[in-house]
């Protein structure tokens, strides 16, 4: 009898565990994945398509300069990544990933700061500062047109689940999850805007609303503030995990950084 109870309990447990996916937590259909570019007005699309009209290239230019120049005390990025070194084309499409030295999840901005402290004897740059935006815009622009392709492994899986959980968790006074707008209602109107699927392939992005270039984490903070939730800090573990979830969710989309968005 006792054994029978245990068997029933185990059955119940496995049923909750994985067998039946929660219909309220269904991922975006991979066949329906479409870049935020598709939801732009023709005028904004034209602004992104022309590398001169795209104001994001102000940061790309500046980033390219910083990349080559280095600082008084340290070597430049180009001295490692230049001719004959480790080229950075396509690298941004594979972030976020695990930093081998610390075993922690890191994104492109984090990796740039790791390079600075570990290899260049330089101080890490402030998040959302002009220099880090410029360098990340430049490095991300080297992967333009390449498909986002983050491969999940055992070390990334827990972060992925954490990010996925963030995406599906209701928060804020409006009690909305990312999922409610970006999975269930994309393509529909939210005040003056068309709701996109919320992909990360265009970041760092020049937002017309910001009148400047900004990182994905700044965008997350905007969304969290929009549903009147307490935003997380830039480069927090929650946002890094969310970034990872979005990279997997938007796999195959072409990198558009620096994109132009309303």
């Amino acid at each position: 009898m006792k054994r029978g109870c245990l068997a029933v309990a185990l059955l119940l447990l496995s049923a909750c565990g994985d067998a039946a996916p929660d219909p309220d937590r269904a991922d975006l259909d991979p066949n329906a994945v479409v870049s935020g570019y598709a939801f732009l007005t023709p005028e904004t699309q034209a602004q992104q398509d022309d590398d001169f009209l795209n104001p994001g290239f102000l940061w790309v230019d500046r980033g390219a300069k910083l990349f080559r120049s280095g600082e008084a005390v340290s070597a430049s990025c180009a001295s490692c990544h230049g001719a004959g070194g480790r080229p950075l084309e396509g690298v941004a499409a594979r972030y976020p990933r695990i930093d081998e030295a610390t075993g922690k999840l890191t994104n492109l901005e984090g990796r740039i700061n790791v390079c600075r402290t570990r290899h260049q004897a330089a101080k890490p740059l402030a998040h959302e500062g002009e220099d880090l935006l410029a360098l990340s815009a430049y490095v991300a622009s080297l992967s333009r047109g390449m498909p986002v392709s983050v491969q999940l492994d055992d070390r990334l899986r827990p972060y992925y689940e954490q990010g996925r959980d963030y995406f599906f968790t209701r928060r804020g006074q409006l009690n909305l999850a990312c999922h409610h707008c970006h999975d269930r209602n994309w393509g529909r109107s939210l005040r003056g805007d068309t709701i996109s699927q919320g992909h990360a392939n265009g970041f760092p992005t020049y937002r017309l609303e910001w009148q400047t270039l900004g990182s994905l984490h700044r965008r997350f903070r905007d969304c969290d503030t929009g549903v009147r939730a307490e935003p997380m800090s830039l480069a927090s573990e929650e946002y890094l995990a969310l970034e990872l979830y979005l990279a997997v969710r938007g796999a195959g989309l072409a990198v558009e950084a620096p994109a132009v968005r309303p």
Partner: protein, 107 residues
């Protein structure tokens, strides 16, 4: 560090109408916005732009607080002689940001 981007043809035929484009990184802070703690953010704008073709002005513009950040201009001029095109922005404090491009005119 004010990043400037300029698009100008390197060569043109004499008498040809050429398109010039100029973009500058600038916040164009209007002076009407308030910060997180309610304080007024001071106005900080570019007030004037001019393009000099061999020292002679061929295009001038005045900017006001309603102009967006990172102002972008497109304008045209007629290629007359080989020479230097200088693009100059002046902010409200009198600071000048400039860049130049050389144009070769073929007959």
């Amino acid at each position: 560090m004010n990043t400037i981007r300029i698009a100008a043809p390197r060569t043109a035929k004499r008498g040809e109408i050429i398109e010039l484009r100029a973009l500058i990184r600038h916040p164009m802070e209007s002076g009407f916005r308030r910060g997180a703690s309610g304080e007024v953010i001071a106005r900080d704008i570019i007030v004037a732009f001019e393009c000099l073709y061999d020292g002679e002005p061929v295009f001038r513009a005045k900017f006001f607080p309603a102009v967006a950040a990172n102002p972008f201009l497109t304008f045209h001029t007629v290629a007359t002689e080989s020479g230097r095109l200088e693009f100059r922005w002046t902010d409200q404090h009198g600071a000048v940001f400039s860049d130049a491009a050389d144009l070769t005119v073929e007959t």
